[in-house]
């Protein structure tokens, strides 16, 4: 598999949405190819940044508001 093809599959590879065969090919390619390995690190870092977003607390209990709304 060529570098361009490997990199085009990064997203599916990250999500484990590709065949086992392709997964093995990509894993093997990343061990051998410094360029793709660097690109893979950048890719995973970016996804990890997104996933680092913290959960926030809702400012109020909407179920109470719903009950009030239902009374109206």
């Amino acid at each position: 598999m060529k570098c361009g093809r490997v990199q085009s599959l990064f997203s599916l590879y990250y999500d484990q949405e590709i065949s086992q065969e392709d997964e093995k090919i990509i894993a093997s390619h990343l061990v051998q190819c410094d360029l793709c390995e660097r690109e893979w690190r950048k890719f995973t870092s970016a996804v990890c940044v997104i996933k680092a977003a913290k959960e926030v607390d809702p400012p109020r209990d909407y179920s109470e508001w719903v009950k009030e709304y239902q009374k109206e």
Partner: protein, 197 residues
Amino acid sequence: MEAEEKKTAGRDNLSTESWPEIVRDHQRYIYNLAYNLCHNRDEADDLAQEVFLKAFENLEGFRGDAKLRTWLSRITINTYLAKRRKKLKHESINLGYVSVPDWNENPERLAIKRELQWCIHHTLRLHLSKRHQVILVLRDLNGFSYEEIASMLNISLSAVKSRLHRARLAYRNHLIRSGCAGLVKDYSCYCEGVTET
């Protein structure tokens, strides 16, 4: 989260009487989805309220062939897209509202974490197309499966795959271009184990 889903999944559990309880089960999730789309607490509050109102008024529209949470999420996205205005002006950094839970940490570390949170939302909000923003929020922040996203956005599975890939590349490219990559270069020590290599 799964337990909540099971508790409220299916058409049979839905009724006017049960609605407040259902809202209670899903409000944290829907508010966070709204926040991840709006990146503003007040707008997210308005959006979440509107979603629960719309859903309540359209309970009969829920056919039970999708998870209730998926249905509510779809309403959230559609409402958000309908409401959104084009705000393209660049905003200055305001870290005051950024939520960081670990208050016991030292100030420097806390500041870095705040910046990171700001960076995440700022990039999503202002430096990606809406379609890229939405798919990243659904997949990477809210953890929907490819199939659920396809159903929610009414696009094919292959469209989900290609759009998600392009969105992640766009996000990565922005981090590199903007210098935010510098902020996250040694990221594993800022976010404590979130980095998966």
